[in-house]
Amino acid sequence: MTVAVNPSQTGEPVFYLADEHPHPEGWSTSLGFWIYLMSDCLIFAILFATFGVLGGNYAAGPAPKDLFDLNLVAVNTSMLLLSSITYGFAMLTMQQNKIAQTQVWLAITGLFGLAFIGIELTEFAHMIHEGATPQRSAFLSAFFTLVGTHGLHVSCGLIWLVTLMVQVQKFGLIEANRRRLMCLSMFWHFLDVVWIGVFTFVYLLGVLR
């Protein structure tokens, strides 16, 4: 759309674009959400850097070797990996417009996510019970901040997942709900990518130290 201004001053009408061309709703959502994820990635990068710097400062307290049970971490990792593939299946059934199956896969994803959070909280409770609280040493402060922030993200993802299941139940697989499920898909897989960094740098390298 173009608009003429000040035709009287110069004699020549000046044209400028009064409006952006119309965009369909949500056309930029996936790029915008991707940029949000990248900024979230920077938050995790800073927490990883903090852990990298402070990870060896035990203040004569417990070291990773005394605290971490790698079997438990392996089970936890598999929960998150399984939830990633089941979310992938939810997206595939969504593309085929199968509401009931999409809901089932979303529910299974939610259960795996819940199992992950449950195991992580059990681990935290066990550590705190043994006196390995965030106040104990710089290593433990950095550990609880990094792993806790990841766990908080997964918990938010779970709340989001339940919200979307209610939305899909109420309104079906409408365009807006597909877009939302797409965003949650990116969020969920992104958290799995962050977890790769956590189990490698915090748990495996910690036990190796």
């Binding site: 790029l31 990633s84 990518v193 190796l208």
Partner: protein, 126 residues
């Protein structure tokens, strides 16, 4: 500006943009790869199969990098064309920032650690 070319431009980027979708086989392939890439580092650390800790550390870090790339491709469907390349640009920018923040922090702080004299040694110097 000519309204015709503008309309054509608008048309272009609505159709080229959007997000890539996975298929059943690509999800399963990504899953199998990530299970293997997770299991090997856990096994290496838990069994102590490699003779030195340094080598084990380097190998498991390499596995993590490979697994992150696998997740990016098979689960997050990253490619150079989605969103006209803007998501790849954002990713590259983020990787640059992450590398600067991580390597910078670790480098500076390790130098700080080795160059600062501990208090008990300082008191011995007169």
């Amino acid at each position: 500006m000519n309204t015709d070319t503008h309309a054509a431009n608008a048309d272009d980027h609505h159709h080229e943009g959007g997000h890539a979708h996975g298929t059943f086989s690509s999800y399963v392939l990504g899953f199998v790869l990530s299970v293997v890439l997770t299991a090997i580092p856990f096994w290496l650390v838990m069994s102590g199969a490699l003779p030195s800790k340094q080598i084990t550390a380097l190998v498991i870090m390499a596995f993590a990098v490979v697994q992150i790339v696998v997740h990016m491709i098979y689960f997050l469907h990253m490619n150079t064309t989605s969103e006209n390349g803007w998501s790849m640009m954002a990713l590259i920018f983020t990787i640059v920032m992450v590398v600067i923040a991580l390597s910078g922090s670790l480098w500076v702080m390790s130098h700080l650690n080795s160059n600062m004299m501990p208090m008990h040694q300082m008191s011995g110097m007169k």
